[in-house]
Amino acid sequence: MSKRALLHRGAPLVLVALLAVAILLPLDDVLRLESGDETVSARWSDALDGLPEESGILVAFDADLGTYAEIRPTVRVLLADLLDRGGQLAFVSLTPEGRALAVAELGRLARADVNPRRLADFGFLPGAEAALVQLTREFPEPIDDTAFGRGIAEGGFDRVDAILVVGGNDLGPRSWVEQVAPRVDDVPILAVAPTVLLPELIPYTATGQLEALVATPRDGAAYRASVDLENGQRLVPDEGPSVAALVVGILAAVLLLAQSLAGPLLRPRGAESAR
């Protein structure tokens, strides 16, 4: 086997080994995932502080399987933070993937002995944007019969103090701003979304149509670091991604891209055919 072929076959194994070592190494002092800019976490704190006691929050859970891993640690801390503040959470999903993930999160909350009277589940609503419009007119019956769920089913958005959109690629905060915000009065929309949605969401945050937004792992880490959970700590099983592993992945990608660029740029156009 030639040296080049050996390198090609061995590179993935080396990368996996490096990732394993990076996860085990204590490099927290050198590396820092939390964003140094505290604007985002301060905006979140302000938005959550502004909610009334025992506020009713509609959690629009429409994350997708591909990007949920990126926002999961932040979503879990946020749900724990809201419950810690005495909030009541009503879940609804408008995408099948979002519904599947919402069921998993609801199951996790139930296993952690969260008071079921503080949760409501409105299930899956088909119809995407049309279902959002319909939701502003009428809520469906909740799956579990709780006073909180019945209250929202009867009172609609009048009983909702804030909307928390857990967004994904299929249906995200933009749809809620476009379809729901113009039809309901003064219900702030908060959002957690994967980084890929950030460029399209920045204008909505700048205009205040999104009250608060976390859309990068670094801002998510900054928010998580700023939260001081009490009872909710048991609802947050994982500590988030390994920062060292992220660095290894980024450096590996940069090296591979540099190598792919170096070949054609350093070799004259006719060199390969002449050889």
């Binding site: 820092r32 998993a104 199951g107 299930g123 792919s260 660029l261």
Partner: protein, 205 residues
Amino acid sequence: MRHPGLAALVLVVGLLLLADALVVNSSLAELADLVVRAAILVAAGAALAGVASLALRRGGDLWRRRGDPVGAVLVIGGMAAVLVAGLRPGGEGAADPAVGWMVAALIVPIGASLFGLLFVSTLAASRRSVAARRPEAYVLVGVAMVTLVLLLPLGGTVGAWLADAASWTLLVPIGAVLRGLLIGIALVAAVVAARTVLGIGGADE
């Protein structure tokens, strides 16, 4: 226009929803509600038809022994497992613990792993683009490298500088390009909508 009935339907529905948003009238609201409910039913029916079509297609592949039999068995087996778990007598549908386990223990990790493969496939695609010596590929890969470096989660002064630079690129060049694209798309959508409403067709006129 090839489908005048469709254009008329779009026109009526669009005007009805627009009027309902602007005018407070209970009859209008009921009509708009009916239309929205119909749209939801159509969307739900289309989604169900899509799933049924996938199952039939894969079932046909197996029956006629064509295509990828392993993939067909996995798709049909996966569908059957979730359906049986959720719809068996005494099952709780999507909220059934067995369905929840399949989602949390199988579908989420497998989905995340597939997404993780983008790391490899994107790098491979960029290498092929550069190897084809396209100037736009050089720009794309160069910008990707710079962006990745800016996203390095480092602490200290260097980390702060990188984070500031990343914010600037997001807010200024990327923001400008994306807003331009969105404004352009909105304008095109408005023009197409106006042409549909006015019954002005394109090449099929």
